[in-house]
Point group: C2
Chain length 489, copies 2
């Protein structure tokens, strides 16, 4: 990105002393600035309850960066922090406090000769979000002489009803074109590349349908547990934490039709169409699981019910597997297998496209089933981003015999280390590109699909930590020749 | 291959003291034996004019192996040569000489308790070949108590008429099922794998036609010159030396329909069909070239007319480029560009499949021409055997921009060093698999296509050694957006 495309702005972080700011926002802003992509264009205004001034916030910011594992370079940090970093307490968040925030913003903009472009990044816990929206809106901070954009973090609502309510509240003050709902998966290079892969390569589109694809499998596996966040997780579970957002996003990107252009609403229109064409998820096509004690990488790990803060009879799901069907001309009859869980053998996000087998093997023409392995395209999203295409080759020597090999591409081999997803997304925010953000109707469409999972009583099967979920998840493949692809490559 | 599938036999080399035996046959037989693939199954009988006995032939064979660059291991060589290697002079090749050869064969078979299976490998110059066929046939060596097979080296004829004559002569004594015409390209793993790639992978067949493929380009480039063989080359030229055999073989493998099975005649039936569907080559679609002085790898190289034994006004072509069209439902309208030459920048055999561009780029939907690079599949045959699939990916960072990358597979990375093509082919001969050998009607079909090139006066353009041929070759792409793909990767 050329820095010229970024217009001068103030980047306001609401929740500037919080965890998300420390882990994601500040590191991303620091990296972008130190690479020259935001510097001299953006001023940052931290906002939180704590009573800090610019100086003490700059100190805190530095310790936050360091605690996030960055090695802070003084030659870069000092000028950045002196020219960029500011702070304003929001106190108890009264209307008066927001008015004073507005005054501070105007002062800052005057001091830096800024035209009034503003980002409000809501790095807040979900329960603080509605009040902040109202606070901003009532103080007139929903508009400015330049543009005003609101960045909203997940989770967006707890179910369909609450998401709709939240959207109504946001829309009371902000136009949808101002709203940037983050799903950080969408900031990942490989996820963004999925659309390039599909629509810049004429090779794949003719194959990308029910005639040639046997099934699609999407796995988002974490090896970690709940990492002390029992409070959050007990209220959330895997459905809300992963399925409604990340898995549904990956699914829509795989399944969507060709958008009219590579522009925010064209892409999001197509994603919404997919969500509306997914058949209601049937109970028998869902398997819930909860991790029990186990071993990962040789280390004993506790079961979910043993985690501190979790009830000993908790029925919260830490694993979901589901089989979905998309009822449209492209996909009818192609199962989409989705799976996510904690305490799985490795951290792994991957989309697996299984093509149909050859109808007959000319190598054994009269076998009752084709003995050939199918072609499988794997889109590896983390940790090792790239593409693999599994295909059959002749083994060396005579007589002829076949073996499976892979055409291979890895991002890191071509480009070196990739930027964090947040960096991509923040650049999109300040340049006004909504394509990789979730529109209100996407959020609601995804909740509409997941709502039944939240409301119904579904058996939660235990699985050993360090396994790919409960054995019951395999039954989703009943009637198919396949099962979950468990090895990483 | 399991050694059990090889039946005990005598492998007769006619021309046992010659160049081909030294460079190819003996090394291949030695390697196969030392790997246990032929040992104890095959006895070798060298036949030539020279007056040698078993002992002196064994000594000669050893020095031939060493001069071919093999490191001969005594522990393997001595028992192999003592039990395997025999010699019989054919004298002046009179009927009497062939009768005595027959007697010697029977004796050998008695001594080694062999059932009478015989290979006659005609490692002879083309002018000696007809007499040898007659000699064998008249001595009754065209049949035996077991099987009898004749291996024929290229060139097979000098044009359509001579090839037909030769086929008639061969068929007077041998059934086509006994005849193994070698095109050593067909023994290469990658060439054999081309059929596996096409017919064991359901992914490619739906794309393998005029709807999805824009053009096919086949290059067989040599960096060497004529290496002192002016006598041979002046009579031959690139048309006879490369186009009629190797290039036509590669073309038929790319273009053929799905055979009914992976069996010799099923494959060859389909190849013949392709040859018959190639439209007669029009003169304006052919460019001839002849190398002039130049530089390869920093070294000055002489021009063709400066080579010893070449006339200073020789019009022999050392380069041919041609555009062919296959008039069938699969390929009509898809140009097949063929190119071969000596003294090109590198040794390189490669098939390039260019797919159509995406019809529109959603990244720039209103551009008049699609700005996207096409997908290109490269089948690398030598020196670095494997597959590459060129595709578009997103460059790292924002805003979106595209870059070309490659999905990559290399045989040597998966399997280590590959056996020489001759080893594969000799195994096929002794196991009776004709699939990788050229049938009489293939030979004639290929000559029928090339005959006009031999008879017409075609301008021969000079090209500098170390270049990809005369600039005039580019005109074959007139009216297309492409030109020859000159870089290796």
């Amino acid at each position: 990105m050329s820095p010229a495309e970024v217009e001068p702005h103030v980047f306001v972080i609401l929740g500037a002393t919080g965890n998300l700011t420390r882990r994601k926002l500040l590191p991303a802003l620091y990296h972008l600035s130190s690479r020259g992509e935001l510097r001299k264009k953006g001023v940052i205004l931290g906002v939180a309850r704590r009573n800090l001034n610019d100086q003490s916030f700059r100190k805190l910011a530095r310790s936050m960066l360091e605690s996030a594992g960055l090695s802070v370079d003084d030659a870069i940090y000092s000028p950045w922090c002196d020219s960029c970093l500011h702070y304003r307490s929001i106190g108890q968040g009264s209307p008066e406090d927001y008015k004073e925030l507005a005054t501070r913003l105007e002062t800052l903009e005057r001091q830096h000769s800024l035209p009034g472009n503003r980002v409000f990044d809501m790095a807040l816990p979900p329960e603080a979000f509605p009040d902040a929206i109202v606070g901003l809106g009532e103080a007139g901070l929903n508009k400015s002489p330049g543009w005003t954009r609101v960045v909203v973090e997940k989770p967006f609502g707890q179910d369909l009803a609450s998401a709709k309510e939240l959207n109504q509240l946001v829309h009371k003050y902000f136009d949808e074109s101002q709203v940037y709902r983050i799903d950080h998966f969408l900031g990942k290079e490989t996820v963004q590349n999925l659309l390039v892969f599909r629509f810049a390569n004429a090779l794949f589109e003719p194959l990308w349908n029910r005639d040639h694809i046997e099934s699609v499998e999407i796995t988002v596996a974490e090896s970690g547990g709940i990492e002390g966040r029992s409070d959050y997780y007990e209220r959330t579970g895997a459905s809300r934490d992963m399925v409604q957002n990340h898995l549904m996003q990956l699914l829509t990107l795989v399944a969507m039709e060709i958008p009219t252009s590579f522009e925010g609403d064209s892409i999001r229109n197509e994603k919404v169409k997919v969500l509306r064409q997914i058949a209601p998820i049937r109970r028998e096509n869902v398997v819930f699981g909860q991790y029990a004690r186990g071993k990962i990488g040789g280390k004993e790990v506790a079961g979910y019910r043993e985690e501190s803060g979790v009830l000993s009879d908790s029925e919260t799901e830490t694993f979901i597997a589901a089989k979905l069907e998309i009822a449209n001309w492209r996909w009818k009859g192609v199962p989409f297998y989705l799976r996510t869980g904690k305490r799985m053998p490795e951290r792994l996000t991957r989309i697996v496209i299984r093509f149909h087998c050859a109808p007959v093997s000319i190598f054994q023409p009269f076998e009752s089933t084709c003995a050939l392995e199918p072609n499988v395209l794997t889109v590896a999203i983390q940790p090792d981003e790239g593409f693999d295409l599994q295909f059959q080759v002749k083994s060396v020597g005579q007589p002829i015999s076949l073996t499976t090999q892979r055409l291979h591409f890895r991002y890191s081999e071509a480009f070196g280390p990739l930027p964090d997803a947040y960096e991509n997304l923040l650049v999109d925010v300040v340049t006004g590109d909504q394509g990789q953000f979730v529109r209100y109707d996407e959020v609601e469409g995804a909740w509409a699909l997941c709502d039944p999972l939240l409301k119904e009583e579904i058996t939660v099967y235990p699985y050993r930590g360090g396994t790919w979920g409960p054995p019951e998840a395999a039954k989703l493949f009943d009637g198919s020749e396949n099962t979950w692809l468990d090895r990483r490559d």
